[in-house]
Amino acid sequence: MDQFSTYHPAINFFYFAGVILMAMFFNHPVMMAEALFAAVLYSFFTLGTEKALRFNLLAMVPILLIAVLFNPMFNHYGVHILGYFPNGNPITLESIIYGFVMGVMLVTVIIWFSSYNKVMTSDKFVYLFGRMIPALSLILSMVLRFVPRFKKQLEVISNGQKCIGRDVSSGNLIERAKHGVRIISIMITWALENAIETADSMRARGYGLKGRTAFSIFRFDNRDAIAAILMGLAFGITCIGLALGAGAVQYNPYFKAAGINPVTPLSLLTFICYFLFCLSPVIIDIMGDYRWRRLRNSQETGISMTGADESLRNAMFGTPTSDENNITDAERMSKGKIKLWT
C-alpha cells in the first residue's frame, strides 16, 4: 500500500514535478541511474508487484531498445566509429550511448507518470488547482463526471441503434458513417436535454449565489510539514549542486561527465541528495510499513476503534487513506457488479 499518496496533494505534486523536470533536463549518468532505480522501485509500490513487473518489462524495455537502435540512425557524431551504414554515414559509439541515455530518460519519465496517475487522483488535482480559482475546481469535477457518463450513454445509444438494425460495426463505409452520425446526433440531444435537469439541480442547491467556497478534504498537518522540509532540503541542495556544475555531462562528440572521475565532495553530495529526493516516497512507504508492523505487534491486546467512529474521524480530521482500505472483499467483488448493473 502506498503511504505517500496519503500525504497532502501539494507534497505529492511537488515531488512529481521535481523528479520529472529533473529527469527531463539533466541527463548525467549517475542522476539518470538513480532516477530510473527510484522510479521503478516506486512503481512497485503504486502499481503493485505484478502490474509493475508487467509494465516495466513488456512496455519499457521495448522503448529502450527502440531508442538505442534509432538514435545511431539519425545522429553520427562521435569519435569512436564502429562501422558504416550503407549510405556511408558512420555508426558511432557515442550515438549509441546517447540513444541509450535518451531511452532511459523516456522510460523514467513514463514510469513517473504512471505512478503520478495513481497518486494524484482527480480530487487531489481538483483541490490543488481549484484553490487558485474555485470555479475551476467545480468545472474540473464536472468534466470528470461527464466524460465517463457520456461514454456510457454512447454505448447505450449505440446498443439501442444496433437493436433496430443500425450497427456501426457492419455495413459499408457510408452506412457506417451515417449510423455514426445518427448516434452522435442522438447523443448530443440527449446530453443537452438532460443537462437542463442538472442545471436545475444545481440551481436548486444554491449554485449562483455569491461567496462560493471550495471544500477540501485535505489538511496540511505536521507530517506533511516534516516531509516538505526534508524533501525541500534535498531538492534544494541538489539544485545548488547542479548550478555549480555537478551535473555537467557531454555526450557529443565524446562522453565526459563531471563528478565521476574524480569524485568530488560537491558531486557526491549532489548525487546523494538527488537520490534521497527521488526515493522519498519509497522511504516514506517503507517507514510506514515498518511502523504498521510495530503497531500491530504491540496492539494485540489493544482496543481498536469501531468502523463508524473511525470513518467519522477520518471525515472530520481529513486523514484519508486510500479507497482500498474502506471496502471489504465482498464489496470489492461486487464493485464489478455495480459497474455492470446500473
Partner: protein, 369 residues
C-alpha cells in the same frame, strides 16, 4: 494479454515507419517542399549562340535551363565604358539554373586599380570589372574583354582585391587572343561576383604579375589547368582538402566541446590526391577519403536539393561556431549553387571543403550577402 500484444504491435509499426523514413531521406525536407529542385521543371527559353545582354543585364533562369547539363557553349555580349565584353557559358556543369546579372562596369582607371597593380608585383597594365551578379554563378563562365587598346603584355592574372587587408588574391589566369593584333583581348575564368575585380597584365619574366592563390586557403597550389577547359585534364585524380581555418579566427564563438577537434593549422585534411571513377561526385569523393583516413563525416540526403548535405566533419558541425557557421565546398575556386552530389568530378578538379563562420564571406563566397 491482448492489450500488451496491441501495444507491441504499435511499437513495431512505429519502428517500421521510422526505419523506412530514415532509410530514404530527411523527412522534414519533404515537408518544406522542393523549392530548389526546379532544375528540370519550369519554363525553358531557347538561347541563341550569341545573345546581347539586355538593359537590366539579367539573363533568365529559363534561358540557362535550355543549356543546363548540355555540353553547349553560348555567349552574351555587352559594352561598358568603351570596352566590349563577352561572357561565355558552358552548360555542362549547370545543374541549378538561376537568373544571372551579366552587366559589368569596366574600370579603366582608378586609385584601387593602381594599388592593385602595385601589389601584383607592380604590373604595368590592368583593368577592373565591377561584376553585378552577387549570388554566385551557375557555372564557371569565361569573360572576354576587348580592351580597345594595344598593350604590350603576354601574361596576366585575374585578381580579387581585399581592401581591408590590402592584399590581392588570384582568382584565375588570364589568356590572350593572339590572333587579334589591333587590341588586347583577354579572357579569364570568373568564379564569383558582387565586387570589383582586376585583371592585371604584364610581360612574362620581369613584369609578370603574381599573387597568392586565393583558391585554396592557407596553402598554395598551382592553378589547375582544368580551369580553362570544362572537360578536365584527362587524368583520373582529383585533389581534395578540408579546412576549418576560419574557426581559428573565431575561437570565442566555438562550442566548447569541439575545441580539441580544431587542428592548430586549420587543416583537417591537407590537399590530397585521390583517384576517382567515372560518375562519382564530390560527395562520394569526400565520403571515400574520410572513411579511408578515419575522419568522422556526417551527411544526410536532402531530397529537396536532390543532394547530400554535409552536416559535420571531424565532429565540427554546422552552428558549432556561431549561427552563421557551416560547411561549404568549392571546385576550382568556384562555389557551385547546388549540392555536392550533383557535381560529377573530372580529372584535375581541385575540391576544397571549407568551414565558414559567416555564411561564406570569410571563405570567399559572398553569394549570401
Amino acid at each position: 494479454m491482448k492489450k500488451v500484444l496491441r501495444s507491441l504491435l504499435l511499437c513495431l509499426t512505429l519502428v517500421v515507419v521510422l526505419g523506412v523514413v530514415t532509410a530514404c531521406s530527411d523527412p522534414l525536407s519533404m515537408l518544406t517542399g522542393a523549392n530548389n529542385a526546379n532544375a528540370n521543371n519550369g519554363e525553358v527559353i531557347e538561347l541563341a549562340d550569341n545573345t546581347e545582354i539586355p538593359e537590366d543585364g539579367v539573363i533568365k533562369a529559363a534561358q540557362f535551363r535550355s543549356i543546363a547539363g548540355k555540353d553547349r557553349t553560348v555567349t552574351f555580349t555587352g559594352k561598358s565604358n568603351g570596352v566590349e565584353y563577352i561572357w561565355s557559358f558552358n552548360g555542362k556543369n549547370i545543374k541549378n539554373p538561376q537568373d544571372q546579372n551579366l552587366k559589368i562596369d569596366v574600370v579603366t582607371a582608378s586609385e584601387d586599380l593602381n594599388k592593385v597593380k602595385t601589389l601584383a608585383n607592380s604590373a604595368p597594365e590592368g583593368i577592373g570589372v565591377t561584376i553585378k551578379q552577387t549570388s554566385g554563378f551557375v557555372t564557371v563562365p569565361r569573360l572576354t574583354l576587348k580592351t580597345g587598346k594595344k598593350w604590350d603584355v603576354n601574361a596576366g592574372i585575374f585578381l580579387k582585391y581585399i581592401k581591408k587587408d590590402n592584399k590581392v588574391t588570384k582568382i584565375s589566369t588570364v589568356t590572350f587572343d593572339k590572333q587579334v593584333q589591333d587590341q588586347t583581348v583577354m579572357t579569364f575564368n570568373v568564379t564569383q561576383g558582387g565586387d570589383t575585380y582586376y585583371a592585371v597584365c604584364g610581360k612574362s619574366g620581369s613584369s609578370e604579375p603574381t599573387a597568392q592563390d586565393g583558391n585554396t586557403t592557407g596553402g598554395s597550389s598551382s592553378s589547375s589547368t582544368s580551369e580553362s577547359s570544362s572537360n578536365g585534364d584527362g587524368s583520373n585524380t582529383v585533389t581534395i582538402s578540408i579546412s576549418c581555418a576560419t574557426v581559428l579566427n573565431n575561437m570565442d564563438k566555438l562550442n566548447n566541446s569541439k575545441k580539441e577537434f580544431i587542428p592548430a593549422d586549420g587543416w583537417i585534411l591537407q590537399p590530397t590526391q585521390v583517384t576517382f571513377t567515372e560518375g562519382q561526385n564530390i560527395h562520394d569523393i569526400l565520403q571515400k577519403v574520410c572513411q579511408e583516413k578515419g575522419i568522422q563525416m556526417d551527411s544526410e540526403f536532402t531530397p529537396a536539393y536532390n543532394s547530400a548535405y554535409v552536416r559535420g566533419i571531424n565532429q565540427l558541425y554546422e552552428y558549432d561556431c556561431g549561427d552563421l557557421s557551416g560547411w561549404m565546398f568549392k571546385v576550382n575556386g568556384w562555389f557551385p549553387n547546388y549540392g555536392a552530389s550533383q557535381y560529377n568530378v573530372k580529372g584535375g578538379d581541385v575540391i576544397d571543403w571549407v568551414y565558414t563562420c559567416d555564411l561564406g564571406k570569410d571563405v570567399g563566397d559572398n553569394s549570401q550577402y
